[in-house]
Each structure stands twice: as C-alpha cells, then as structure tokens.
C-alpha cells in the first residue's frame, strides 16, 4: 500500500469548544491507483488531504490516528523530515493554478528548484523540459523562461502537475484540480492526470466535489459526510449501486445530460455545522430510512455487497 490512513482525527480547538473536522477515518491507496474522495463543502475532504501532507493551518491539528506512506509512519515525523518527504514522495496539486505558482519566477526556474531540492545532481533543465513535454505544454523550450501569468489557466494547471511530478513522487494529492477550469480544459486535464498516474505508477488521492470527474478518473471512491467516510468502494459500484442513503440521495441529485426533464432528487436540510453534529449517525436527521439505532450509535464501515457503507441498514442480521 502506498498510503494507509487509520483512524485519522483532525480537530480545531476554538474558544467555544473543540471542533472535529475529520472523525476517525480509515482508507488506503494502492500503488498506481486513483482514489477519489468526494463530498460536499464542509465534509472534511480537503482537510484530510492537508492532514496527510501535514499542511494544516494551526490551530488545526491531527488529534489521533496513523498515516503511513509506503509502510513508514509520517504523521509523527519532525518538521524537517516531513519537508523532505513532501515534494519527494508526495506531490500536491491545488485548485487554483494562479496561486500555486510563484508569479515572480519563471516556470523553468520553479521546476528546476523543485527538482534540485529533491534530486540533487540531476540534469535539472533536461528533466524539467521532459516534464513540460509530458504534460502537454507545446514548444516547451520556448516557454521555459515564461512567467506564470503568461499562461492560460489550463496551461498553468499543467505546469502545476509537472511541478508535482518533478521529484517522481509515489503519491499525488490533487485537491479540486479541475474546478477552476472550463469544461473543455477540464477534460484535457483529467485525461492527463490519468495518463500520468499510469505512466509513473503513482497513487493519486483525487479530492473533488464533482462526481463526474471521479467517474472518469478514479478506480475507487470514498464518499465523505460531516467528517466521516460513509461509503467506499469501486467507482462503478458506488455510482450505479450506492448503498448509503446519503450516496443514494447524492447520485439522484446530480443532473445528467438528457433529453427528458426530470425532477431532481433532493435531500432535505443541509450538512450539519461542525459544532452541531448529531449523535449517532450524522446523517440521521436527513435520512429517509432512519430508525432508532441510527439516533443512538454511530455506525462503522460495514460490508455492503462489494463496497463498505457506514449504515445500520447493512448491519449483519
């Protein structure tokens, strides 16, 4: 397993009490696999990504749990050790390509800097040019000394992907990599991510709210709600045969291109705020199929056909 997360809990101590943004989640990503982490805003998916690379903004902190990269624990490493791992073993792609690149340096310089930090002694320029070519920047030699603002949004995101790949990481964390891009560019970037994962054998943790992107890119998907994973399984299973009532509602509310107008399924209410998470199953106030146990006990991930769902409906009889 490239990445193993076990019982990860992330908390934010505030004046009014401790807020739990991620509550004892566990998942793993195999080498070369793309795991989608999907959820609506406030579900905790971005925080999970930040927790894995230890870039949480204080006062947020990892309160408990273990994170293992290629078998080695990284959640308790001292800061300078972690800095070496970040970039070398883990590459990151954030949502906004404009702010991910330093506007004052040419992209060639930024690529070289990253390469030399983690792979000293290598021919940085050659490697950088190779990366640019790989991510589909036309005429990379000509654009090597260009500045980020001279690229369009889609091209910038490609450069960000090149940066993430620079040191041949084993794990790439992509947080909403296509959300800020137009639909036609989005398609190009999705295809690129897939190809890159396959060619480099890197595992990808793809965080997004867009189920369509996950359908195209990922092999497995974890659905998050109120800081927990409520369903996890193969993409095809989760999309076409969801087991958790939230996932069912979510799939029903996604509009699809069709020539028939249908009324969309709507889930009443909204995701609870972090300081008002209900007892038992956090989805119970909105769940059309809840019963007494749901109000009292929080369900763990239970086997449901070929997936896992945190729902008492799937409790063994």
């Amino acid at each position: 397993m490239t990445l193993e997360v076990r019982d990860l809990t992330v908390q934010f101590p505030t004046r009014r009490g401790v807020l739990t943004a991620v509550d004892a989640i566990s998942f793993s990503i195999a080498p070369g696999e793309v795991l989608g982490v999907v959820g609506e805003s406030g579900a905790g998916k971005s925080i999970t990504g930040l927790a894995v690379i230890r870039l949480l903004e204080p006062p947020g902190r990892v309160a408990s749990g273990e994170i293992r990269l290629e078998g080695r624990r990284i959640d308790n490493l001292p800061h300078d050790e972690m800095r070496k791992i970040r970039g070398r073993k883990i590459g990151v792609i954030f949502q906004d390509p404009l702010t991910s690149l330093n506007p004052l340096y040419t992209i060639g310089r930024q690529l070289e800097e990253t390469i030399l930090t983690h792979l000293p002694g290598v021919d940085a320029r050659a490697r950088a040019l190779g990366l640019l070519k790989e991510v589909g920047i036309p005429a990379p030699e000509a654009r090597y000394n260009a500045y980020p603002h001279q690229f369009s949004g889609g091209m910038r995101q490609r450069v960000v992907i090149a940066l993430a790949l620079a040191a041949e990481p084993k794990l790439i964390i992509a947080d909403e990599p296509t959300t800020a891009l137009d639909v036609s560019i989005q398609a190009q970037i999705i295809a690129l991510l897939q190809r890159v994962a396959r060619d480099h054998g890197a595992s990808v943790m793809l965080i997004t709210h867009d189920m369509g992107v996950i359908a195209e890119t990922a092999q497995r998907v974890a659905v998050m709600y109120a800081g927990r994973i409520v369903e996890i399984g193969a993409v095809h299973d989760v999309i076409h045969a969801p087991k958790h009532p939230y996932t069912i509602g979510l799939m029903g509310s996604i509009p699809r291109i069709s020539t028939e107008r249908q009324r969309l399924v709507q889930i009443e209410g909204s995701m609870p705020r972090l300081n008002a998470i209900p007892r038992g199953c956090p989805f119970n106030p909105r769940c059309p199929r809840r019963f007494e146990r749901c109000l009292a006990e929080r369900p763990d991930l239970l086997p449901a056909a070929t997936s896992l769902a945190a729902c008492w409906l799937h409790a063994p009889a």
């Binding site: 989005q186 369509g212 992107v213 359908a215 509009p255 969309l264």
Partner: protein
C-alpha cells in the same frame, strides 16, 4: 409578441492602458468586444438558457438585458412590466450589514409591490422569523433562497438567473432548481438561465443558446440540442462533459484553448480549433441561420 427581444446587441469594453502609458509607449486603444451582434427572443413562460465557457459573454448579455450595462449597438425590447435578477455568488449577493427582512423589503418598498416579507420568505421555503437574522447566519443554499425571495418580492414577470447554482453543493443545487421550477409553474414566470453546466441546463431549459466568443453559435430547443447537436463547438462541449454513466465511450478532448479576446480570429471565432474549418470559415463570420452559425453546416459538409 415575444416578452424580450434582442436585436444585433453588442457591448464593447475599453480596456486600454492608462493614457500616460499609451502616449509613452505609442499603443492604440484596446477595445474588448464582449458581446457581438447577438439576437434572440424569449417568449412568455419559457426558460431560455445561455451556455458557454468563461469569457463567452453570457453574463454580459444578462447584465445588458437587466440594464446594468448599456448596449454599444443594437436594441433590447422588453414587453413585460418588471424584471429581476439572481446572482451567482450567494455570499456577495446579500448586504452583510442588513437584516434579511430589510433585504427582502427593499424591492417591496421601492417598487411599491403588494408582497409582504413573510409571504416572500415562506414562498422560498424559509420561515418568517428568518427575517430577523443576518445573512451570515445562513448557509449558501439558504442565501440563494433569500436572493430568490428578494427577486420575487419585486413581482417580476421575467427573471434573469446568472449561474444561480454554480456556487452550491450538488444536493443543495437540486433543492434550488426544484424550487425555481415550482415557482415558475406557480407564478407563470419567464426565465433566462445562464450557466456553464450543460447537465443543469438540460434539466431546466426549453431552449438553449450556445455562446462562444461573444456570439451565439447555436440556438435550438433543448431536446434537439442535446440529442442532435450541430455546431462543432456544441458537440465538443457536450463531449467534454464528464460521463457519469460511465458508458465507456472513448472521448476525444478537443485541442487548443479559447483565443485571446483582444485578438479575435478572423471569420468564425472557432476556426482555429475546428476540425472542419475551411477558407471561408477563416474569412467570413457565419450568420445564425436555421439555428446554427456554421458554414460547414450551412454548406452541408457536416
């Protein structure tokens, strides 16, 4: 008699550099043509959607219609009594210092309509007590409801909706789209729905206009557009939508990006990326004939 008619409407923006810079560097004025000779009609009771990617001019068209901008050329004729608008950003659409009841009451007071604030709030699924609160106490979806309540308090016949659900989570989006559909039936409203999301549009629109580079490239009934798209850009756009059904059909992402709006290609704006472009496409802007603005279609080549 259509409720709204646009005839050859264009809008230019002057994005020239400051006067001093221009003089010193001998640069000409730079004019950006955001909307280029757009014409269409909207009939009472229907929902017309305008789709396109960022920068295609759809939001500018919305603002031209509502009066926030003046057209540089062309005419806009509105036969109805009042129109209102709903905006994309639920956080910036409501004045953070005003209570909800004042926000919703503003059009009632100013336009002297016969709605009351509690009625308006109930209509969108909120409680009359919510009027006492401030916007920051509500979620994104609830704020959008407040925006809708404010728009409806002005008793409009026509509602311009600029990406009303793009900033919302998918499940909240479903609630708002259903609400808007119910209100349309109940109050006999006409909608102009602006969006970049084709899937959403296919669920709400009667007719769809596809915009590219400030021009309408295809304008057809929704059923026809989604089953038999004709313009190459429309096809590319539909092709690019991620396939949730996972039918496994191979996709060919289209090459290239939107050209610089200050340096538009000559002739048809899509020609640099179009697999069917010929000499005429590079020279002559195609007119919107038979619902499509494409030489290749007109000439029967595709």
């Amino acid at each position: 008699m259509p409720l709204l008619k646009l005839d050859g409407v264009s809008r230019d923006f002057d994005v020239s550099r400051p006067w001093l810079n221009r003089v010193i560097e001998r640069e000409p004025r730079r004019i950006l043509r955001a909307v280029d000779r757009v014409s269409f009609e909207i009939h009472k009771g229907e929902t017309l959607a305008l789709v396109g990617e960022s920068g295609c001019g759809k939001s500018t068209v919305a603002r031209l219609i509502v009066g926030l901008y003046r057209p540089t050329e062309g005419r806009i004729a509105y036969e109805g009594r009042r129109m209102q608008m709903i905006f994309q950003d639920p956080y910036a659409s409501l004045n953070p210092r005003w209570r909800v009841k004042d926000i919703v009451a503003e059009p009632i007071r100013f336009l002297k309509t016969s709605q009351t604030v509690p009625e308006a709030l109930l209509q969108v699924g909120l409680a009359p007590d919510d009027g006492e609160k401030y916007p920051h106490e509500f979620s994104g979806g609830q704020r959008q409801r407040i925006s809708i309540a404010r728009a409806l308090a002005g008793e409009p016949d026509f509602l311009v909706c600029d990406e009303p659900t793009s900033a919302l989570d998918v499940s909240v989006q479903a609630q708002i789209l259903n609400l808007m559909s119910d209100l349309q039936k109940r109050l006999g409203l006409t909608y102009l729905f602006i969006s970049h999301n084709l899937a959403v549009v296919s669920q709400v629109a009667d007719r769809v206009g596809v915009m590219y580079f400030g021009r309408i490239v295809e304008l057809a009934p929704a059923r026809q557009l989604f089953s038999r798209p004709r313009h190459p850009y429309t096809r590319m756009l539909l092709d690019a939508v991620p396939d949730l059904a996972m039918s496994g059909k191979p996709r060919v992402p289209v090459a290239g990006e939107v050209p610089n709006p200050l340096a538009p290609p000559s002739g048809c704006a899509f020609n640099p990326r179009c697999p069917y472009a010929n000499e005429r496409c590079r020279a002559e802007v195609p007119a919107l004939l038979d619902n499509v603005a494409c030489h290749a279609v007109h000439e029967g080549r595709i």
